[in-house]
Amino acid sequence: MVDADPHEAVEPLLRMRGIVKEFPGARALDGVDLEVRPGEVHCLLGQNGAGKSTLIKILAGAHQPTAGEILLDEEPVTIPDPVAALKLGIATIYQELDVVDGLTVAENIYLGHELARGGVSRRSDAARRTREIMQRLGHPEITPHREVGRLPAAGKQIVSLARALSRDARVVVMDEPSAVLDSEEVGNLHRIVRELTADGVAVVYISHRLEEIRQLGDRITVLKDGRTVATSLLVADTPTNDLIKLMTGRAVEYAFPDRPGVPEGAAPVLEVEDLGLGDVFNDVSLTVRAGEIVGLAGLVGSGRSEILETIYGARRSTSGSVRVGGKRLRSGVDAAVAAGVGLCPEERKSQGLLLDEPVYRNITLSTFARIARGGLLDEGAERAAAREQVEALDLRPASVDRNARTLSGGNQQKALLARWLVHGCRVLLLDEPTRGVDVGARAEIYSLIRRLADDGAAVVVVSSEIPEVLGLADRVLVISDGKAVHEGPAREIDEHAVLDLVMEGSVA
């Protein structure tokens, strides 16, 4: 009998067998197998904390496995450090942005394998090749000598991608590369991935966006709690619901919660009038009533984060005003927090977390003073409040005493959300609340946001996933180039219309 699957005949390029990784106090991987073939997109799926990043860090030489073996071309190899991995042709794009702000784009791309003659940089060569790579990535506007610190998050992600491409890799590992990208950028990324695989390069691709996996992936390996629960499933043969069940061990209703509609008489809680910030954005007006969720849709770099941060007082507006409950907000974050406004920032590591502090202190960062009595901390009460949210959000592992650094990316995001849940907000500003969050938790977060709104909060959500904005929000503002180009009920608009508006806006 001849096997119909042409892939079966291909020798695996890379094989990881029985990988175990123990951290102090945690067994992150407990016997994981992975087999990757040349020219395929191999997707790695799993809930937050399942061990995906840990696995690929072992492959990249950033962590050492406690047990298990790695084979390349069926030859066992050891990967003691990142240099070794790169030498073997394994290039990695890490989940957390790994660029150096003080260096230029070209310097970042060639960091560690500089184009140099006798230690002296060949700057024009580097610039030329950078320009070529950026052209290929569809970003000619990111020029080689630009300082990376001045690029928005998405730009940094592109630079990371360019760095991986600049190495002549046989295996490219991408850990949630699409998390900070908008739909247009994602399309671009997929094109690059297909080009790579066409050249015989194997791509290991991690994402929590299941539609993406469907479009892009060839085969799938699913991790759960540090173990492989399914290897090398063919994407085409595996329905999404099965995948979710494998990952979470249960069936998750992957749908947005009902929108009960905002009651007629609901009072406006947040009123933003003609707000502007230099030439980043201007004349932004919006009103959010109690119980309403307003979404800001737009492309990366359109200024949505800045709008949220300016409303919050973290940036000093150059024009306009913000009112909460009818009272004008003084500038400054503390005034906003005191007035019951909360912000979940976009970059959880740099803007949100105290990585070396326990989870409960991260969760109570904006409330510990309120929980305290006369300046004396009440850590018992803090722990209790934190534990309640950890359970509600299914944060894993469920301990509130472990350091935030040891949580997986998605669980860190949940801890940030928990901070404002403990605080209790009249106005909640959420910047990419589900970035890096797995499907199961995503559904929980959606229903949570809706519950908060139902309890009378005014919520503003920014997300680069337009379906998410449309599915979750009552009303949508489409932002293009720092201007609101459309405002209307979320039901009356679809993804295409949003993209059209954005395009028109940026042309205009």
């Binding site: 919050y312 070396d356 003073a369 472990r402």
Partner: protein, 325 residues
Amino acid sequence: MSARSGLMGPALRMGGLVFALILLVVVGAVTAGERFMSPGNLTTILSLAAVTGVVSIGMTFVITSGGIDLSVGAVLGLASIWASTLSTQYMAEDYGWWVIVVTALAVGLAAGLVNGALIAYGKVPAFIATLAMLAAARGLAEIIAGRRTQIVDVEPFFDVFQARPLGLPTIVWIFVVVAAAGWFLLNRTTFGRRTVAVGGNPEASRLAGIKIKRHTLYLYGLAGLTAGIGAVIMLARTTAGSSTHGTLLELDAIAAVVVGGTLLAGGRGTITGTVLGVLIFSTLTNIFVLNNLDSSVQAIAKGAIIVVAVLLQQWFASREKATST
């Protein structure tokens, strides 16, 4: 397990320091015997630790918050001179010894608040702002003192500060009280929590609604205040104010704090560690003197011992990690 790393962690992290201190005590007892272990000598060690100790408590807060204060020594000198000239000569005899104390504390606090304002609101890096204050405070102290040592001649002041309640000198008690208050402030109050948060991630703290500028102002004010307390102790010990008081004290204080285990980058601070660090340094000096060590050899030994203390601490910390798995 989490409780274990919560309770045992710090204890083990202190292990290296306690071990180093015990080692020093053993060395002292072996090399100098009786003379080292005598109650009088132990009191001397504590008395000598008092000035650096008090200042190091304030420094622990500043460093925990990710800052640094190079001006504490100069501010101590300025406070000592101000208190000893202004108050002693013009007022203290009429108004009592507490004029000296209040003046010293007020001068320290004021200088600290100037530092804090420059850093928080002027956005001058802490290193630079406090270096500038170092220069300025020394200069001002010299002008006020007319480059003379100002001898304090207020008997009631010494009645209080050279007394020995419960067998220990008042200045040692001051150190104990300041250390205890510092420990409480850092570990049990919202002020301490804010300090750690600001040091760990200033941007996240700001976005969580902590007023980091105001807090920074307070922190440097606190460091200045402890320099003022240090000035009072210095006056009690030396009976004189001088613009040279506290020369290079900032380095001693920073060394004690960092050897104690507070992260220079901010985000982690320990008062217990600081106290141990201060005691290690003053015991070390005492042992050197008891053994009549040449001062050049002392310097080399001191360098070596600092490194060993830190290495020991790290070794214990890595054991802690191993234990908690």
